[in-house]
Each structure stands twice: as structure tokens, then as C-alpha cells.
Amino acid sequence: MSRPEIEVRDLHKSFGTNEVLRGIDLEIGQGEVVCVIGPSGSGKSTLLRCVNLLEEPTKGQVFVGGTELTDPDVDIDAVRRRIGMVFQQFNLFPHLSVTENLTLPQRRVLRRGKAAAAKVAAENLERVGLSEKADAYPASLSGGQQQRVAIARALAMGPEVMLFDEPTSALDPELVGDVLAVMRMLADEGMTMMVVTHEMTFAREVADRVVFMDGGVIVEDGTPAEVIGNPSHERTRHFLSRLLDPAMAQVEEETSDRPGKGD
């Protein structure tokens, strides 16, 4: 295999004295789909946000497509054009229509012409199945529709890598499926994807690899069958049992040594 599409080396991130990431090494190959799972506060969202430098790492290196993002002289805006990001809260621009949400970044950032941007926008709205909502405003869409528009907006920039930060966590349960279907389609098309998620079914069926994080380190990294099907660490087993069968969990003493609240 050639150079990995995403490469993270010895990544550390602290917020004040709170050490959220304590030395992460991770490689994601071209076309690979990697799901990052772990309890809240484990640093998984922070890791994802470090990959497009929305969070500035305290120490360590991040490479995407061979470019070092942690190089102080890098043109970060140019690198980010190659990295699509999808947020838990969608973050559509509420003052713009669906189509304008897709065309504004193309026109302002990529300097595409009006017609070209509109064409790319229409194509990507069709990919996520929302052509008929082209003129609607975000507020009139359901959460699932908004998230699909957010994915289309990222895709319209022609990214080589897509980052997903808990894309279905803010959705009503019955709307999750539509978003996951779009993500599955992307995976099938060979998009390189890094997905922070709690959707175990998606991780099991779509991911090439699953990474389990806890306490700011990667505890386990392997195929879904290994990590979800047959975890080798107690922490992973404990997390998965709580996730897959929350009704069976026992009341636990709060442990204060866990770093990072609210990632």
C-alpha cells in the first residue's frame, strides 16, 4: 500500500491541565473506513477534530494526503478543502437555502463559477436523495435531512477524506437510517472515512477497521470482528456491554481519574 491517506503520530492534546489525548498513533489507508468508538470523554471527537486542525494539537504530527497539517507554515485552508467534515449538530448555514449552502463554499473557497457550482450542488443533492429540497431552508428540514445536506455540502468541495463526528447522535432514532445509508454509499464508492460513532451496526457492517479509545489512548485497533466481535481488552468488553445492552448496566462509582469531559 502507498502512503496512508491519514497519518497521526504521537498526538497529544491538552485543554489546560486536562490531558485529553495522550499519545495517539493512527494510520488510515486510502479508501479505508475507520470507525472510532469509545466512552464519552475518551478523546475520540478531539482526535477527529485534530485531523483537520479544528483543534490545535499540543504535540505530535498529523498528515493528510502526505501534507503535514501540524507544520506551522502549512496553508491550512488549502488542506481543509481536501478534508470534508460532518458535525453532530449539522451546522448548516441557517440564513442560506439548501442549494446556497452547497454553492457558497464552492464559489467563495474554490472560486467556481455560478453555473459550475450550481451543477455540482445539484449532483450532490441528488446523491443524498434531497433534490426536491434544493430551495428549502435548513430550519424546515428534519434532522436527518439536514445531516444529509451537510454531507452533500462537504462532498461538493470534492474532498479526498471525510470526517464524521457522531453524525447520527443528534437524530431521532427513526431518522438515523437515511444518514447511515448515505455514509454506506460513500464507503462503497471508495471514500476514505474516519467516523466517530456509537452506531455499532454501522461499525460492524461498513467499517474496515474499528478503533476503541479510552482515557485518551487507543486501547484496541482491528477489524470489526476482532474489536466488536471478540474484544481482547476488559475495557472494550465493558464499554460494548454497556452500549449493546444499556438496561443491564449496574450503578457504578464515578471515577475521577478519567480525563476529558464533554468531547
Binding site: R80, Q89, P105, A150, A154, M157
Partner: protein, 277 residues
Amino acid sequence: MADSDVRIQPKKKGLTRRQKRSLSRGAQYVVFVAAVIVFAVTADWGRLKNQFAQWDIAKEMFPDVITLALKNTVLYTVSGFVLGLVLGLVIALMRLSSVGPYRWLAGVYIEIFRGLPALLIFVFIGVAVPLAFPGTEIVGGTYGKAALGLGLIGAAYMAETFRAGIQAVPKGQLEAARSLGFSPARAMVSVIIPQAFRIILPPLTNELIMLFKDSSLVLLLGVTLEERELSKYGRDLASTTANSTPILVAGLCYLLVTIPLGFVVRRMEAKAQEAVK
């Protein structure tokens, strides 16, 4: 829980809560009606009418009060508002800057111009500046001075409004824009400020109303007959006719503008409230 059951039962003796409520409301009406009657009886209606409602004096004022005085008031206000808007946005961005001295300078500016009476600032522009810098001429004469005075005051208030509006745009909006490759400046212009502007439209309109009223201070700059605005015009006529009717008419002209504007603000606020739900 039998205890509390007993306590919330209506009391058997004295007034019930309902009776107390209607008694209190009745008392308030009585006070109001009494006050109206006292005023109506004691006021010297003939004198009041003579002072404030002289029809021929009022008629004499038209159309000048509209075509000259109100026009000038609007002109001073709008030019001051536009200057304040631009300057206020610059100061707000300085206040949010990562460069310390900019933040500091913007903070000092806001404190000074919000803290000083508007009247003092007009005196400063009209009297102190020509004395301190002899030979300097503020472009646009009275119109330029008025715009400067109102703009300097408005900018301080609008800067704070802009800052609040920019900070009210959710952080995720900037993150989304940056992750799409927008530079910080471009994200500010294309994504953040348009949204902030919607949020601050009601308070901004309130500031327009404030400047509209403060434009009366232009009379301190020493104006020619052609440059008079509502207050000066009304006052001049009141002294030549020795009657207060012109003041009343001038006042009504202010309300002609401020009341509809206030109505628009409340509509916008109600709409914004609805959008949040």
C-alpha cells in the same frame, strides 16, 4: 401529606384569595379614575389650548416643518447612523481581535463614548475642535459635524451590539466554515456577519431611534436657517410666536417616525422569538 392538604384549602374566615384579588383590582381603577378627574378639574383648559393648540400657528408651520425640519432631522440621523454602523463594525471586530492593543483601544473607545453625555460630545465638536485645531475644517460643514457627532456616539453602542451579535452566532457555524476551507476573514464576512446582522436588527433599530432623538443636539453646532432640524425649528418658532404650539408639533413629528419604528422593532423581536421555538 394530610398536613399540606389542610393548608391549601380555602380559609373559612376573612376574605378568600379571589375576593382579595378583585378588591385590589377595584382599588387600582378607583385611583386611576380619581387622578383623571383631579387633572381634568384643576387644569386650566383654556390656557392649555391657547399655549399648545393654536391652529393657525400650527398651520403656519406646514409644509416647512416637514420639508425642512423633518427632512434635516432624517438627514442628520441617517448620515450619523451609516457612519456609526461602519465605525461600530470596525470597533466590534477590533474588540474581538486577537491583537491585544486593538481590543484595548476598542474597549476604551466604547467606554468613553457610551459614558459621556451626547450633549458634551456635540459641544466638543462644535466649540472645542475649532478652538483646539484652528484652520481645520470638518468636511460637509454642519452636515459633516452632525454625522460625526452622531456617528461617534452611535458607533460605541453599535460596536457592543455587533459584538454581542457576532458572539451569539453558534460556534459550530465558524467551525463548519473553517472546515470547508474558508479563511477566518472570509468566514466572518460570508457566514458569521450575515447571521449576526439578523440577530441584531431589533437592537440596531433601537439605536436608530436613539440617534433620531439625539439629532436634536445639532442645534448646539450653530446652524443656519436652512440647516435647522425639528427641535431647533420648533424652539425658534416658539420664541417668535411666544407660544408652545410649535414645540408640540415638532414633538409629534418625532413620534411620527419613532412610533412606527418601535412597532417594527417589536414585530421583528416577536418574529425572532418565534424562529427560536
